[in-house]
Symmetry: C2
Subunit: 331 residues, 2 copies
């Protein structure tokens, strides 16, 4: 496997540099051809890596940045004060070809606007969109958008479908089955924008369009990609997260102190792990010129390692070049 360098925003995220460093260490352990470019305060980062074994620390370098954006920094603040931040430094490393992908656990709005500013957009794409995976009956299903595109028209929904078509097609080697999230499966259901996008996608010979999908059916895993606006996507993802946490809480109470509960524990833990969103941490930011992965602000070290590995995989498949080559401009 060819060696690949991933730039990691080492300062952002709820856990700060400690979690980021441990995530990088785990990713390096899991992939001997991976190099990590840590972006952040040089002294503490270099001191921490110095204690790692030689096989790891020779695959780490540091790109200095002495500022970090707050998790809730909005787009305006990010553009005004964030151009030297650890997040922007990681994106700049991709722009300078010092790294093949950038990973950050910072805020979504800031990442979208800085990625657009530093890397630029692909031809015909208006704004970046965020694609994330959720666990379903068939394994994983991707959702797009989960970013800050909260009010979208038919053009944007079709743009999301095209972005996801090329991205998943490149990474998986086959065209993804795509559906539009709606409140009913009949063609007459839902808002105008979704119905219009449905008509256009059905007429597009390149897209494997499967029609409308209701939120409950997403978990059947019958499609590879669900296209929606960022608000609905956020609600779907977080509702599932909340319902699963509620159910595990009630299972725990119900089994508490019983032999059966003791016996069931390993099974429940495995199930919790398989449904845990942090296991699937890492959301590709699509539409920008370069590979960028958004990691959850509350990501664990294991979660960050997963996001870094995803960035390395996309870079190896040359997703960014494929996106530039295969994206066709909207009619």
């Amino acid at each position: 496997m060819k060696s690949i360098t991933v730039a990691v925003d080492a300062m952002s995220g709820d856990g700060g540099s400690d979690i980021n460093l441990e995530g990088c260490r785990q990713a390096l352990l899991g992939d001997p051809t991976l190099h990590v470019l840590l972006c952040g305060e040089p002294e503490p980062l270099e001191a921490a890596c110095a204690s790692w074994p030689a096989g790891l620390n020779e695959r780490v370098s540091v790109r200095p940045s002495n500022s970090v954006l707050a998790a809730d920094a909005g787009p305006a603040l990010a553009l005004r004060h964030g151009r030297d931040s650890s997040m922007a430094t990681a994106l700049q490393a991709v722009h300078d070809r010092a790294a093949s992908a950038a990973v950050s656990s910072g805020g979504t709005g800031a990442l979208m606007v800085l990625a657009r500013h530093v890397l630029g957009m692909l031809p015909g794409i208006e704004r970046p969109a965020l694609m994330a995976a959720i666990p379903t009956a068939s394994g994983l299903t991707w959702m797009l958008d989960l970013g800050a595109n909260i009010q979208v028209d038919a053009d944007r929904l079709c743009e999301f479908a095209r972005l996801g078509h090329v991205a998943l097609g490149t990474v998986n080697g086959r065209a993804p089955a795509i559906a539009l999230l709606n409140i009913g499966s009949e063609p007459g259901k839902g808002p105008d924008a979704i119905r219009e996008a449905g008509r256009r996608l059905a007429a597009d010979p390149d897209i494997d369009y499967q029609g409308f999908i209701e939120a409950n059916r997403v978990f059947d895993g019958a499609v590879d990609l669900v296209v929606c606006d960022g608000f609905s996507g956020n609600v779907l993802l977080k509702s599932a997260e909340g319902a699963i946490r509620l159910m595990f809480g009630q299972l725990k109470t119900s089994f508490a102190g019983s032999l059966c509960g003791y016996m069931a524990r390993p099974r429940l833990r495995r199930l919790n792990d398989s449904l845990d969103p942090s296991r699937h941490n890492g959301a590709p930011l699509l539409g920008v010129r370069g590979t960028v992965i958004k990691s959850h602000g509350a990501a664990t070290a294991e979660g960050l390692a997963h996001a870094i590995t995803l960035g390395a995989l996309e870079a190896r498949r040359d997703l960014s070049a494929a996106m530039a080559a295969h994206l066709w401009v909207a009619d």
Copy 2:
């Protein structure tokens, strides 16, 4: 307890009149002061009730209607061809004061438009809204809207909050804690309409407004009512349903054939029941002049009985009069 009559659309819903009759029978068994007015084809309904024991069949009567609206009949079709339907007949019984509440498992769009047409709207309320309960850590949390109001402005969101404030306040005897569904809890997050509604609700001394709530936190049960547009509400509810079904499916597979699975079965069944949306079947349609309960199209007999009992409870608390008296017209 004073005797109360609930009109039941006996023909709508996936299970047809069989399920509806069995649901009515269960509701009558559970409440000796309940009367049911069955709306639908008189001969088969009367024949079925004739076989019931005297204590039940003397509390049933039939209001004839020989047409039934298809489950997917839209508002236009409902208004054109549905005015003699079993659904409209049940609503008419409330209008004529032959019944204190109407229950139907027919389509949401048809029920909204026929209820508005037959009963009329409360002062200052533009369109009916649907309020439904979801299981959360504290028991039940209500969501409003889950109806056909898919694109809403700040006025409508504030209207939903007022409707829910009066409805839950009347039924529970205390003002509900209300939050607005959003993709973040900070005041600057989300679409304009939600932020504007948040500002207005915060300034309203009557409303116990708790700010924005994210979809995952809804399941903590910290608020009594979550206000949202009908699209997001549908996505939240169905996503939770899909995630819980996925999890039960995986639990079943994981436990299959094991002693532990055998021992865990009663606990899992109880948990499944407590989280099963059909156990909480019955969504009050708010804003119309009269008590109307929407039952799920796929409701079981037990689910329909629950919806009928809810209709009787609301009628006993005189919700409709309370709504008319306490609703204040929007600024």
